[in-house]
């Protein structure tokens, strides 16, 4: 999975540059989809809420406008982690300061893996 981080870089661009990056980004996603390498992808709205704690408190997302904020994602279908990194390196937002986080999708929930690990340990 590719997570696109940073959503404050847009401000510094002219409308022409923005149009250019948008077109490049869309063409990139379309090509990956045609090649069967992208399964899903979505931009996310800037609006953000955080739900946390035992009391399930709702607060405004602290990450709304920052270099760390996630602006969108692509779900890829590739054979290796390295393939995903190569695709990430094609991101049209990179020259403008976007960072792409590349993360393997887990085969199973990490909580379930931890349980399995504990069980093995207990049985050993």
């Amino acid at each position: 999975m590719l997570l696109f981080r940073g959503n404050d870089w847009l401000k510094s661009l002219s409308s022409e540059e923005k149009q250019k990056v948008t077109d490049q980004w869309m063409a990139w996603f379309r090509r990956l989809t045609d090649e069967g390498k992208a399964i899903a992808g979505n931009p996310l709205e800037r609006e953000s809420k955080i739900v946390s704690g035992k009391n399930r408190v709702v607060s405004d997302g602290p990450f709304a406008e920052s270099k760390e904020a996630i602006g969108g994602y692509f779900l890829l279908d590739v054979a290796s982690f390295d393939d995903a990194v190569v695709i990430a390196q094609e991101c049209p937002g990179l020259p403008y300061g976007v960072q792409v986080e590349v993360r393997p999708v887990a085969a199973e929930c990490p909580v379930a893996s931890e349980l399995k690990h504990q069980t093995q340990f207990a049985n050993a």
Binding site: K18, E45, E47, G72, F81, P110, Q118
Partner: protein, 128 residues
């Protein structure tokens, strides 16, 4: 979209607690799916890379698993309002143990397009 922001809090749980939580999570997710409110969600491995730099030539390890803000997984919802998505996030069984859930509307339209249109309009106004 729900983004789970967590560290590896589940390492602190006992086997019983883990099993209980897994069962609760499963029931929670199945309930949402049965109501047509959840599309497939996935957990992400606790390792990865960050690609940055003009040509994407900088590849570093990340994010750090111990960070409370690292994304541990995601769930795409099919609901009408952000309030409903927040209510679903609040009902997530894992919250009792730590971590937080970021709730984000999926954009109808790419924010790049929206901003380009706004700028074009501003320039049009200036011309007039």
């Amino acid at each position: 979209m729900l983004l789970y922001r967590t560290d590896e809090w589940y390492n602190k749980l006992s086997q019983e607690e883990l099993q209980k939580l897994i069962n609760q999570n499963k029931a929670w997710f199945e309930g949402l799916t049965a109501q047509g409110k959840a599309k497939p969600g996935r957990a992400l491995e606790r390792k990865g890379a960050i690609v940055s730099g003009v040509n994407g030539h900088i590849v570093t390890d990340g994010p750090f698993a111990e960070s409370k803000e690292a994304i541990g997984g995601y769930l795409v919802l099919d609901v009408e309002t952000i309030e409903e998505a927040i209510a679903i996030a609040q009902s997530s069984p894992g919250l009792a143990y730590g971590g937080s859930i970021e709730v984000r509307p999926v954009a109808e339209e790419c924010p790049l397009d929206v901003r380009a249109r706004e700028l074009a309009r501003e320039e049009h106004c200036v011309t007039i």
